[in-house]
Symmetry: C2
Subunit: 403 residues, 2 copies
């Protein structure tokens, strides 16, 4: 069993890096705070005798040798970046569960048949740079390295430059680790485990995600002198699309639709907005339903552009297809061995494990979080709930290593 | 008659201060560019022998002595600040028509019975600081001086500090100029004069304006894991209010409704917005209709807050009641004397003259602008159109001075 108090202490120590007044965390990818968090992870892994490598998109791999290092390693990992108003658990819990597994093996001098790998993936959140799971997606070959390094934040700063600046633009080739299985522990971020009073969620599926950048190009003009019928109001059209995103979600079982980001130009109260840029996020566990939702959005945008005499540019720049986790049974076996209550569940959020599933048998372990709230400073998971997830991770990794 | 080419040249020279690639102007109130524009105005007025005073809210008064300086002066003026994507004419045309009147009097050694006053009013646009017509409104006593000097822009910078920094926080008491009449020339900013093929609009009325700061407080949470029925989506509610603003405007004759400014928090694409702040601008020439529009907005905000379980805070921080211009007949007489085609019109925008009408008989002269477009870099008025307005201003001022 892992050490519950020690796991909790590392969570709180890491949470102080970018910690907010309301008890949350603001540690965007590629910032100085991201560097501090990465440095702390590296120091903890080195203290347990790991070797460290950093790949070309900044993913960190800490390796603890096994008895037979020719065998493929067993991996775990998640991310240390957070939302601007994020919590202390999303991603961090997975990384630090790995550190806790490492420390448990180290202090008990446990030799594992295969090596164990503990990883930190770059920009999983997709908040500062898009898309989400950028580090893992690039690692497994879904995204082009140069394209991703050239991605910029809202201020035009390149991811590649930020990684170099904070010392995490590495040399290791993408996809080059020899792994035989991968596990990720993560808070559920939703209300289901709490509602059902289960300690562990065996994640069977990661739902589909479609991300868009939408731009409405109208015509800026005076709010006091432009008659309603002569307006090309980009804000009005953007608002109609926000409303439609909600309607699309409600029309489809398990559909979700969100506009989380918006920039208005020139953003002056007596000028009718000439340009509004915003994000759209559609999700569904079924790929065919998600495709229908996508088509509805595109059609709506075309029609409203015609009706209002404005331009609506829809860039569907990211599609993440639903993924099945094929090492879920390892997670289930470990959970049952440890005697935790559990249920099958699907992941509403994207996770690095979703991309790792491209390369190796992968499993995810969910733990409950208070009121199902995540991407919020109030995000919380109790020491016991965290410990249960880390214990399952330890035993799933040990079983995979022994097999 | 004024000198058309010289007027045009000053417009182009002034327009270079903050001039944009697309031929517009970005010269927000209180910025270094505002200082440059003010300095240029002051140097032009001094070259014609004027004395200069600056009042406690940064309004500039340039005075040309008359034959009898005990008589109340005749004033004119407008503003030099622009929208972030504004044109070269809005406000500037009025100030520089004044300068052209001054130069015409000066070079012809015309002595006027009363003194003539040429003014520049602080922050008429209301884009960087609110409300609009802040300088003239404070001068006439509608706003409290300290309150206005303490107003901050989106970055928290005080108007008072900016005025001090650029050297235009003066000592002159508010409301202390002795004036007997005030005229302001301005581009129409709307399409009516152009449609009707009239050179001059005799402005009979300034329509009513109500400005609001609205804040929706929801709950930030994850876009991929928060079921639709558990959301408190501040963006969705804000969008519904934007749509309703448009509907309110369409329900009332001559109604206008605009949301030009919006800030989303935390503005991350996979976090449901927890807070959206935006502006609302309602206008109508009839005060009772504008009041009904106001009540509809307030009621809608209350209802939608209840329906969505969010907080909607509506701050109706500025009401500008419709104003009648009681020196319009002077403008009409000057226009007819000069033989320009004309029509009566009402002002859709607020103007400094609207507040000056509190203190003295006031008239406004409108000139056409291309396609009725203003608060847009493409704003344009031809040299002939500008000259007609400045000629009417000259003769309206002369007649008022002689009376
Ligand atoms: N785990 C998590 O919050 N990932 C962010 C990517 C997304 O699902 O939007
Ligand atoms: N003239 C002008 O554009 N004034 C700005 C104030 C307003 O009407 O919104």
């Amino acid at each position: 069993r892992i050490n519950e108090q020690r796991l909790w202490d590392t969570l709180m120590e890491m949470g102080d890096i970018g910690g907010t007044e309301k008890g949350g965390c603001n540690r965007l990818a590629g910032t100085d705070l991201d560097k501090q968090a990465r440095d702390l992870f590296v120091s903890w892994c080195k203290a347990c005798g790991c070797t460290i490598d950093v790949d070309k998109i900044g993913n960190i791999f800490a390796r603890r040798a096994g008895t037979n290092n020719d065998l493929p390693a067993v991996g775990t990992g998640s991310h240390l970046d957070t939302q601007p108003t994020g919590g202390k658990f999303d991603g961090v819990f997975g990384v630090l569960s790995g550190v806790e597994v490492l420390r448990t093996l180290h202090e008990n001098n446990i030799e594992t048949p295969t090596a164990m790998e503990f990883s930190v993936w770059t920009n999983e959140e997709g908040s500062r740079f898009q898309p989400a799971m950028q580090g893992s997606g690039t690692y497994v070959g879904r995204f082009d390295l140069e394209t991703e390094l050239n991605k910029t934040d809202v201020n035009g700063i390149r991811l590649g430059d930020e990684l170099e600046r904070i010392g995490y633009l590495g040399e290791m080739e993408l996809g080059s680790r020899h792994m035989g299985a991968f596990f990720e522990a993560h808070i559920e971020q939703g209300p289901i485990l709490e509602d059902e009073e289960k300690a562990i969620g065996i994640v069977r599926l990661g739902q589909g995600i479609r991300w868009y950048n939408i731009e409405v190009v109208g015509r800026p003009s005076h709010s006091g002198t432009t008659p309603m019928h002569l307006r090309k109001d980009a804000m009005l059209v953007a608002s109609a699309i926000v409303t439609e995103m909600n309607a699309i979600a409600l029309r489809h079982e398990n559909g979700l639709g969100t506009v989380g980001f918006m920039q208005v130009w020139p953003n002056s109260r007596n000028t009718i907005p000439g340009n509004v840029k915003f994000s759209a996020d559609l999700r569904n566990p079924k790929p065919d339903v998600l495709l229908t939702m996508h088509e509805e959005l595109v059609t709506f945008c075309k029609e409203i552009a015609l009706n209002h005499g404005v331009e609506v540019n829809v860039d569907p720049f990211w599609y993440f297809a639903p993924v099945e986790f094929n090492a879920s049974d390892d997670v289930k076996a470990a959970t049952e061995k440890l005697g935790y209550s559990h249920m099958d569940i699907y992941a509403g959020a994207g996770h690095d494990a979703c991309y790792m599933a491209d390369l190796v048998p992968t499993g995810m372990i969910f733990t409950p979080c208070l009121n199902g709230i995540s991407h919020n400073e109030a995000e919380y998971s109790s020491p016991e709930e965290c410990a249960a997830g880390a214990n399952v991770l330890l035993h799933a990794m040990l079983e995979a290593s022994e097999r």
